[in-house]
């Protein structure tokens, strides 16, 4: 007993239901039939204590959840979110015991299981026609996108992340511009010499843009590797799955390349000041 309150997501399910396909759940789901039984997510924040070890060592142990004394009977694996530090699964009747103000009619999210081979879109449209307009009917992918959109567009977390990306691009733009600008400035006399012997502006534009692309690629490769390591570190620290997938990698590369390209275009203006007449001064 620590006496410290922590936030956990409570899922109330029918113990016979097979819709939750979480690692380790199927094997222990039958235990939810036990009186006041709780299954605990072993990927929850460590501040909840060594729950998995305690279950393995002592079997069932008692814990206070929502002001009710319940029994933690086993663990499963799910992973936390921004909204809760941990997850527990209880039988639906136990759920209403924890939250007496909730009623069986007040469902937040309902899952409909279709028979194998059923057409999802047809079923979706049929269900939608039967329900009020304020209820969303989504397939699995749409539900995932809806959640992402919520966190990205509506919550402060999404705003902060997006702002971070924009700030990163602006800072990167300024750094790359300064690098290119200084490089051009340091070689202004050489550029003027090349202009004097007959090189045209197109050539210099190619040189600067090439330099900016080299910076983009040269910066991206170590940046990607560092990010991959950081993702793992963050993942193990905050217990939230961090997915550095192909789309993210490509999007980041396109953004960085565009940023470097624009910096290069701006830095080219400095080349205009490379006057071939200067080499005869």
């Amino acid at each position: 007993m620590t006496g410290v309150n922590r936030t956990a997501l409570v899922l109330g399910i029918d113990p016979r239901s097979t819709v939750y396909n979480l690692p380790g759940l199927r094997e222990v789901q039958e235990k939810l039939h036990m009186h006041d039984a709780v299954l605990f997510d072993e990927y929850s924040r460590p501040e909840f204590g060594p729950v998995k070890d305690m279950v393995e060592k002592n079997g069932v142990f008692s814990a206070e959840i929502g002001g009710k004394q319940l029994d933690v009977v086993d663990t499963f694996r799910m992973g936390i979110t921004f909204s809760a530090d941990g997850n527990i699964i209880v039988k639906d009747t136990t759920f209403f015991k924890i939250f007496p103000n909730k009623s069986a009619d007040g469902i937040d999210v309902g899952i409909v299981s279709l028979q194998k081979g059923a057409d999802i879109e047809t079923a979706k449209n049929k269900i939608r026609s039967l329900l009020p307009e304020n209820i969303l009917v989504l397939n699995r992918e749409e539900y995932i996108e809806e959640e992402k959109a919520y966190w990205n567009d509506i919550t402060p977390i999404g705003y902060i992340f997006n702002f971070g990306v924009i700030m990163g691009l602006i800072v990167g733009f300024v750094i790359v511009y300064q690098v290119l600008f200084n490089d051009i400035n340091n070689h202004l006399h050489e550029y003027a010499t090349l202009k004097a012997i007959g090189y045209d502006d197109y050539y210099f534009t190619k040189v600067v843009i090439s330099a900016s692309i080299i910076l983009a690629v040269g910066g991206y490769i170590p940046g990607f590797l560092i990010c991959a390591v950081l993702y793992k570190i963050v993942e193990s620290s905050i217990f939230i799955e961090m997915d550095l997938n192909f789309i993210k990698a490509i999007t980041t590369f396109v953004l960085i390349s565009s940023m470097c390209f624009l910096s290069g275009l701006l830095a080219i203006r400095k080349l205009k000041s490379a006057n071939p007449v200067d080499v005869f001064q």
Binding site: H189, T193, G198, P276, V279
Partner: protein
Amino acid sequence: MIMSDNHHLIHAHDLTYHYGSGELEQSVLKGVSLEVKSGEFVILAGPSGSGKSTLLSLIGALRGHQRGELRILDRDLNNASNETMRAVRQNIGYVFQQHNLLNFLTASENVQMTLEMFSDLSGAERNKMAADSLTQVGLGDRGASYPSQLSVGQKQRVAIARSLVHQPRLILADEPTASLDSKTGIQVVELLHGMVKNLGCGALVVTHDNRIFDYADRILHIEDGVVYS
């Protein structure tokens, strides 16, 4: 386009140039006339501020003149387009007071920079021409050296190799001995002189180093924007 006498690489007549305008106008060249033919090694001497560098920049098609007639390598530069000016520049070999080599390129690569403008040359051809040009200036074995590994005199010779590798019809040199010691300066001028005589091109060398006057076919003096033979 007005075609000049084939032997006249430079034909300037009554050339004027001034900086500023109105009350601030300052004349730098006042009716300059001069000619340089193929195979001629001409020295243009004069004190600082006499208009030498301005005249050289006009002849080198680096900027347009304001009044008078100027034909360089058979091209009329009166109101010439940027493209024409650039085309003229590609046929001129410039030797500057400073070598202006790119430090991150080897001597050979610096020389090849002149040839990169000519897309009809293969990499192997450019490499061989650069090696030949470096051999001509006595640096055949230093092609792989970076400028930081060369002496000042050697750098200036690499710059000359860069200027001459494409066998220009005209060489313009601005104080080529200014940054060199006496012995190296003489070597560089001998080199330029030999190139002019062997290749049949022309050279206009701006200098006030009277040690090299003996190499000149003609010496022109410029003072207060006026050229005297």
